[in-house]
Amino acid sequence: MRSEPVVQVQALVKRYGTKTAVDGLDLVARQGVTAVLGPNGAGKTTTVETCEGYRRPDSGTVRVLGLDPVRESAALRPRVGVMLQSGGVYSGARADEMLRHTARLHAHPLDVDALIERLGLGSCGRTTYRRLSGGQQQRLALAMAVVGRPELVFLDEPTAGLDPQARRATWDLVRDLRADGVSVILTTHHMDEAEQLADDVAIIDAGRVVAQGSPEELCRGGAENTLRFSGRPGLDVVSLLKALPPDFRADEPAPGSYRVVGEVDPHLLATVTSWCAQHGVLPDRISVERHTLEDVFLELTGKELRS
């Protein structure tokens, strides 16, 4: 099922002066949506901009759709859509004017009016770019990235600073792109965005990929989850522990409040409820607390503030 990689980065190193922004990074992105997560300064934008052909690797190789983004730029550019973190539009241009212009640079562009409608850019009217709101500027940049009907789209923090409605609209567009066979590489700070959209997540820290996998894999991998339930106080926790598979812990941290810690799965839930049935306990407020991507992210990249 999994096809040829759309992006293949091997041992990428990129320095700015004495600062090493990317430090031997390996990344494979396949068909679908790949989210690149990382704290500020982790090397996300440098990595993406190297894939876009803006930066030359100091060492290592980068292939995008099988091509070298610097040497084979002319062949690659028409096939790839780019949304920069900010800017990219003439300050005196109107939104529809700039989008139409971008469409004219492509052989088979999308219907510009439909795209304007879909991303709510119609209300920009005759306002020039510099007077558009931040959200309108973001949506225009997104529209410009997809209007040429690319095979692959790079979105650098596409929802930064967007209101919830615009964020939903962006997510919906990314899902539609995916469903129509367009691959998407997006950088983001929003864990929920990665969980919602991505087939694959790469977590970058200090210029390297520290974890990669589907959101489910990352949340499951090695992480223990917790099952909590309430019942009458003073139940026999030792008996509960005996009913559980090995490597599980169970306790009563507060009277009437019980906690089971381990790799919680559907069988475990069944085991706990049947133990309750045997002991005549009707548990209320039974809940499974799974690790979120944010937990995994903070576990991997630390909790201290970054520059």
Partner: protein, 272 residues
């Protein structure tokens, strides 16, 4: 690799209307002439929409031509004042568009990531530069038409060969474009804005545009005569006012500026 393989529906596909094929990849660059034409039209629109640019390219040259032709402010030598002023103002018009306007606009395009974003589009860099040049030429045609009409209304009687005039204008445009792009591609946008306006003002005064070079001290004249705007205004004046043939000295000076400026711009221009 194209078209790409279909994939499973998104696991969290709620909300989208996906799978309709509306976004199915169909990449491709537009034909080069269409891209260049579209880019040139957009660049020209941006220029004509910008009030500050119009002040520089249209209002100031027009005011200078009318004011100095009708009011005796500067000694322009023997003959009608407009016959002296019209060639100088044409040179000023070329400088205002090819140098000052282009430097400021390109400087801010660089600053706001426009050049960066275009570099990721199917438009090749040389095609972008071609489009910019076309946009400069279109603007110059509009300027020169306007100024010529006004000059005739003021009693201008031009002499000489139109081909010599055209050659000088083209060389002047090349020289000023090279210098303007060099400035835009190396300095910060704010520095370019300040420097391009300052240079415009200095060259307006000291470049033989409205003040004859003979009015300056003998020692300064030799140096000022080497400036591109002096070479252009003096060359145009030799042809249009005195009916001379091609002024080879000025052609050589402008060619040297054009070669040096464009080469330096090509070497040092930074796109981000």
């Amino acid at each position: 690799m194209n078209p790409v393989n279909p994939v499973d529906p998104a696991p969290t596909g709620a909300g989208g209307t996906g799978g309709t094929g509306a976004y199915a990849p169909k990449p491709g660059a537009a034909p080069l002439p269409r891209m260049i034409a579209a880019q040139a039209v957009l660049e020209t629109k941006m220029l004509l929409r910008n009030g500050e640019q119009l002040l520089l390219t249209v209002v100031i040259p027009t005011l200078l031509l009318v004011l100095f032709s009708t009011v005796d402010i500067v000694d322009t030598g023997a003959g009608e004042a407009v016959d002296f002023l019209a060639p100088g103002v044409l040179a000023l018009a070329v400088m205002s568009t090819a140098f000052t306007g282009q430097a400021i606009a390109t400087g801010f395009e660089r600053r706001y990531g426009v050049l960066k974003r275009l570099a990721a589009s199917p438009l090749p860099r040389w095609a972008l530069m071609t489009a910019k040049t076309l946009s400069v030429l279109v603007t110059e045609v509009l300027q020169i038409t306007l100024l010529t009409v006004i000059a005739f209304a003021l009693g201008w009687s031009p002499q000489g060969s139109p081909f010599a005039v055209l050659l000088l204008l083209v060389l002047g445009t090349a020289a000023f474009s090279g210098l303007g792009l060099l400035m835009a591609g190396t300095l910060r946008a704010e520095a370019t804005l300040a420097a391009a306006n300052l240079v415009f003002l200095l060259l307006l005064v000291g470049g033989g545009v409205v003040v004859p070079l003979e009015n300056f001290p003998a020692g300064a004249q030799g140096v000022l005569g080497l400036l591109p705007v002096s070479a252009l205004s003096e060359g145009l004046r030799d042809v249009l006012q005195d009916g001379a043939g091609l002024p080879w000295t000025q052609v050589a000076i402008l060619t040297a500026w054009a070669v040096a400026g464009l080469a330096a711009a090509g070497r040092f221009f930074r796109w981000e």
